[in-house]
Symmetry: C2
Subunit: 290 residues, 2 copies
């Protein structure tokens, strides 16, 4: 049980966390801050937060648990804004979809208090963002990856895991490097590919005509290409090293398939497609490890 | 109004065409042939066809309209089987998803009767195949691309368009080359990419762990990777020239994005993502030309 949640960023992710924590009876009071005053006011009027803080620093004042729910590119500036009130007694978590850059920022800013910070990535979201879509059920049944470093305080790590499990999440522990490689492979690279595919088609003289003929396969394949430009710009840049490494693996695999197609090697091509088809047909979202 | 449809291939595509043509009152009798006798029998018992033909050749005997609804790789053998009964009075159509290879086969086999053949690609399908899923509504509201060549008889082309329009399809006319380029771009390349992405991830030591973390974006992006191996092997090989050309366009675009990511060029990257995001957000499946 926590006395006070300091919530920095009262949007979809942060607002849903506050609602879920309250519903679970795990916190007495939520003090919230958002960069946009209208968001903070809306969070207050919706009951997502109990008190409006005029700054990130004041949101942290008196908190025993702090959630950073800001874009990953804003992590360092946010930590700088609060560092004078951060102590090792305070559990600090984030919800960023990249972890190495967030941890690097936390090391630079928090220094000796880095042990208070437990890097987290809850794999949850909605098409719509903003506090208006905050939902106490957003995290229920979802995976949360925690990526502690050697200096993370074990007691804080354990409490962070307990919090997410109390919200009915499945918690997985990974190194920050494995986390970033995994999400480069299964999320960031597919976005990069979808953006490139759409723009590559549109760049051709008959591109508009081609797009008019596209069907349900194209619709689903390119759904993620409609993502928010600033958000994806930041994610792709934040995880650039792992993203570029995964893109190389992908292009080598694509070029191996092209060679089969070019050579008319029907057996190899069929075997390769069958492998992908079996893998995908047997894949289930959020499947637990055996 | 036709006297007799000769249906070669009584599966989902062919069976649905026969049901739709009957429902529209456009044909008196359907004589059907499938490679698998059990399919032909099932088509007969379902009322998809009225008479079972013991061979492709006999399905064509007496027909004034013929539909080839066989895998594209079987087109040439099928045309060879029927060519002795093909005449210029007969309207012959296909439903293949590639057009240049089908037309090349038709030129080689039909020779002076090539004018009877109107190459068609109805953009319709279901997850499930087979005559059991044949549906008189399969083509309703769908696009059909017709790709006549210079020797296609104008009267036959006009009748083919009338037939599809009577089935409530939107007919688009393209050259075979543009058709194949378009489908390489919006269908065949996305499949190639999805197969390569899934296999590229699975080939890594932590691949299984990565896949367990994948979410709804990955789910939709890779849905087409579960496609049927033999079918996609044939499509990718049949359209290899345009597919490889489109894959080059895609890889150049991807590499341009990689350069922006590597250089940390946030403005260029955001602009590029915004272009893709706008295009995709404004795209509607089956949108008619303005």
């Amino acid at each position: 049980m926590f006395e006070q949640l300091g919530l920095i960023g009262c949007g979809l992710m942060g607002g849903s966390f506050a609602l879920a924590l309250k519903r679970a009876g795990l916190v007495k009071r939520v003090v919230g801050y958002s960069k946009s005053p209208s968001t903070t006011q809306r969070a207050l009027s919706m009951g997502v937060i109990d008190v409006e803080a005029p700054s990130a620093l004041l949101a942290v004042s008196g908190a025993d648990i702090v959630l950073l729910a800001v874009p990953v590119s804003a992590t360092e500036a946010t930590l700088k804004a609060i560092r004078h009130l951060v102590s090792k007694d305070m559990l600090i978590m984030d919800v960023g979809s990249t972890k190495r850059d967030v941890i690097d920022a936390a090391r630079r800013v928090l220094r000796d208090n880095i042990g208070a910070f437990v890097p987290c990535h809850p794999i949850a979201g909605k098409e719509a963002s903003g506090v208006d879509h905050a939902d106490a059920d957003l995290y229920v049944g979802k995976q949360v990856v925690v990526t502690p470093i050697e200096r993370t305080l074990p007691g804080h790590l354990q409490r962070a895991i307990q919090v997410w499990e109390a919200l009915q999440c499945n918690v997985t522990r990974m190194t920050p490097e494995s986390h970033d490689a995994a999400f480069a492979a299964v999320s960031h690279l597919p976005h990069l590919i979808a953006f490139a595919l759409v723009n590559g088609i549109a760049s051709q003289p008959q591109g508009q005509e081609f797009l008019q003929l596209a069907g349900p396969g194209f619709r689903d394949f390119t759904r993620i290409a409609a993502g928010e430009p600033k958000l994806w710009r930041d994610v792709l840049l934040a995880n650039r090293q792992e993203l570029l490494a995964q893109s190389q693996v992908f292009q080598r695999t694509l070029q191996a398939m092209e060679a089969m197609v070019e050579a008319g090697n029907a057996d190899a091509l069929e075997g390769f497609i069958a492998q992908a088809s079996n893998l995908r047909a047997n894949w289930r979202m959020g499947a637990k490890k055996p």
